[in-house]
């Protein structure tokens, strides 16, 4: 059997039915073989390899299955780098197959040759250059095994052209074991007992729900855990979907743009049970003052995360799902009603809020409206920046794996292609993409992919004519000196969508929002809403970088001059 055929046979055995990519010279044999698998494997052609990689990532995040990307060597491979790094930071299982020049030419600076394993080493869980057709079946098995077990992550398989055409024996291993690679699933019983004893003696416990809960599929168990012991919870950006039946137990997001009361809970808790959390700098602010009154129980499948950014009083290495089900076996009476009353009081005094009224559309209102109009199990994909934070703050996620965004790497341009991948992964659910004007233009070419496959994606571009989050920092920390952040010359995104053949609507008045979102929800096919939003709106509250999470900014002056500057630019263009 030829190497390229082995690849597809292996994909079928791994249960892969969807592949994303772009062909090229060094992978042409694989794409030729694809013709023989057309009725078994759905292939999606993208317009840029970054788009294909983000799509595979979005697909993986909503389905839990590995996303598969096939691209060519050289620039094809380097174009996937941002997508791979995005997946690596958020622990998303990907298998990226890159074509490579023939083994005899490796190292000669051949046409479209690049050292793929070298380049992707720091952003992959594992990578491997296939050096013979004999090792190919094992290498593919290993790639899927490593990508999907333990803490998931992207794996790159570099596949030289001569091995694609070489003949060999196809003996695909059912199961493999790698010496030295054995992720710990079950938490240590003694540590679990210690954690539960701390909980029993605690007055102000708090559960922090992280991305690991979504990855491990443990959200239902976590909700049960909260309800059973009456423990309040907060979530990181990647840990959305917490939905205990007692509403008083959930206090929203934490960190830089978390809720005031969520961060208050962290700053005042005496016990933190962190589930699948890596304590990123965006969550902890100043590591010296973070949760200084609390004992920390840290549950994570990756031992390297424990003790990396914050101290752990009780380290539990294991899969969150397994550990929380052990927690649930404990039975003792707890009463944290005083603590919950304290948090309720803080929530009443410092709610999430924004100025309503005024002549501009408020982005927060769009998010609330989408939450109201779209079904409960809608998948929401956000880009990066202000749009992402508004979605994270104002959308009430009720299910695991329902919020998709680039949390760790913060990749602008992620949402559109990831949304395409998500919709391909769960075609029965609505998928809404939120993007800002800056990020949307970074992978705008994938509107063509939406059209090509007629993917009924609902896209909302919230246009504040700026690289909004950086502009917000300039507003708050750089005396309103807007260096290189104003995009007053943005195009009409509705017209671009229409030119491609996607239905679109442009809105600029607050009273137009309801109708547009309702229209978007009704639309059978893909549709884009281009919303011109308040150009001076900021995301609040905000913990300044490295600041104390207990004392975020809750107010900021509104910059009229900025609004004037953007409006006058439009006038000067005769709009």
């Amino acid at each position: 059997m030829k190497g390229s055929k082995m690849l597809f046979e292996a994909l079928l055995r791994e249960g892969v039915d969807t592949v994303f990519g772009i062909p090229g010279g060094a992978i042409i044999n694989v794409y030729d073989e694809l013709c023989n698998y057309e009725n078994k494997i759905r292939f999606y052609l993208f317009r840029h390899e970054q788009g294909a990689t983000h799509a595979a990532d979005g697909y993986a995040r909503v389905t839990g299955k590995p996303g598969v990307v096939i691209v060519t060597s050289g620039p094809g491979a380097t174009n996937t780098v941002t997508g791979i790094a995005t997946a690596y930071m958020d622990s998303v299982p990907l298998v990226v197959i890159t074509g490579q020049v023939p083994t005899s030419m490796i190292g000669t600076d051949a046409f479209q040759e690049v050292d793929v394993t070298g380049i992707t080493m720091p952003i992959t869980k594992h990578n491997h250059l296939v050096t013979s057709v004999e090792e190919l079946p094992y290498s593919i098995k290993e790639a899927f095994f490593v990508a999907t077990t333990g803490r998931p992550g992207p794996v790159v398989l570099d596949f030289p052209k001569d091995i694609q055409t070489a003949e060999g024996e196809f003996d695909y291993p059912e199961k493999i074991e790698i010496l030295g690679y054995k992720p710990t699933v079950k938490g240590h019983p003694r540590q679990i007992k210690r954690a539960m004893e701390l909980l029993k003696n605690s007055k102000k416990p708090l559960v922090i729900v992280g991305g690991g809960v979504n990855i491990s599929g443990a959200m239902d168990l976590v909700n049960q855990f909260l309800d059973k012991f009456g423990i309040p919870a907060v979530s990181t950006l990647m840990g959305r979907g917490v939905n205990p039946s007692n509403e008083k137990l959930y206090y929203g997001g934490i960190g830089m743009h978390g809720t005031y009361y969520g961060n208050y809970a962290v700053a005042n808790a005496d016990l933190i049970i962190a589930l699948g959390v890596r304590f990123s700098d965006r969550i902890i602010g100043n590591p010296k003052t973070f949760a200084k009154n609390a004992k920390i129980v840290h549950v994570d499948i990756d031992p390297a995360e424990i003790g990396k950014n914050v101290r752990a009083d009780v380290p539990i290495v294991g899969d969150v799902k397994s550990v929380v089900s052990e927690f649930l076996k404990y039975d003792f009476k707890t009463d944290f009603s005083e603590w919950i009353e304290e948090l309720q009081e803080v929530k009443r005094r410092f709610p999430l809020r924004y100025e309503k009224g005024g002549k501009f559309i408020k982005p927060q209102y769009i998010v609330e409206k989408v939450d109201e109009v779209f079904p409960d199990d809608t998948i929401v994909v956000a880009d990066v920046g202000q749009n992402q934070m508004w979605v994270a703050q104002y959308y009430k996620f009720k299910y695991q794996r329902s919020f998709v965004c680039s949390g760790g790497l913060g990749t602008m341009g992620y949402a559109l292609p990831a949304g395409i991948g998500a919709k391909i992964g769960v075609p029965d659910k609505e998928v809404v993409v939120f993007a800002g004007d800056g990020g949307f233009q970074m992978n705008i070419q994938e509107l063509m992919t939406v059209r090509r496959y007629d993917i009924p994606l609902k896209i909302i571009v919230m246009d504040n004519k700026a690289l909004g989050m950086v502009r917000q920092w300039q507003q708050l920390f750089f005396n309103c000196r807007y260096s290189a952040t104003i995009l007053a010359d943005n195009p009409d995104f509705a017209k671009i969508a229409e030119a491609i053949g996607i239905r679109a609507m442009k809105i600029e008045k607050p009273e137009e929002v309801d109708r547009a979102i309702e229209e978007l929800a009704r639309s059978k096919g893909p549709m884009l809403v281009h919303a011109l939003i308040d150009p001076a709106e900021v995301v609040l509250p905000m913990v300044p970088p490295g600041g104390d999470v207990g004392s975020p900014l809750v107010e900021a002056p509104y910059d009229e001059n900025l609004v004037e500057r953007i409006l006058s630019f439009e006038k000067s263009r005769g709009e």
């Binding site: 394993t117 790698i178 030295g180 031992p303």
Partner: protein
Amino acid sequence: MNMANAVREHLVSMLVHNKPGVMRKVANLFARRGFNISSITVGDSEVPGLARLIIMVKGDERIIEQIEKQAYKLVEVVKVTPIDPIPENRVEREMALVKVKFGDQKQELFQLVEIFRGKIVDVSKEGAIIEITGSRSKVEAFIRLLSENQIVEIARTGIVAMNRWNVVEKEGF
């Protein structure tokens, strides 16, 4: 300053799959996490297909703990064993080849080689090549005693080391 924050040199022994690029992966990992390698050696181990890396790295206790945990994240790494920081509990060797000019100090040089139990492995009219083996501090002491204009070339193997029989080997993490 307490012990945990004290920066010192740590020796770590790593059993790894002997595959192309594995040295690069380990070295890269250390570099990107900001750990400074001062010595790295590699060779076959007691298990066919596995190689042993001995790495010397500078840092405090927290860094050394991170190194072990991060190293385990590489699929190629099978086992990480810290080498006991107390010199009496370990055996440590490094070898250096030193090419020297005799100048007018030929006799002193021969005496020095004698004292350090070195070997003269090549000799000519102008100079010699000396082989010196021992702990890193011994090798460095020998080199320090040579005058700068005597030394033509130095090549060192880097450190190989293992815990003594009576040291209970701890699992890396």
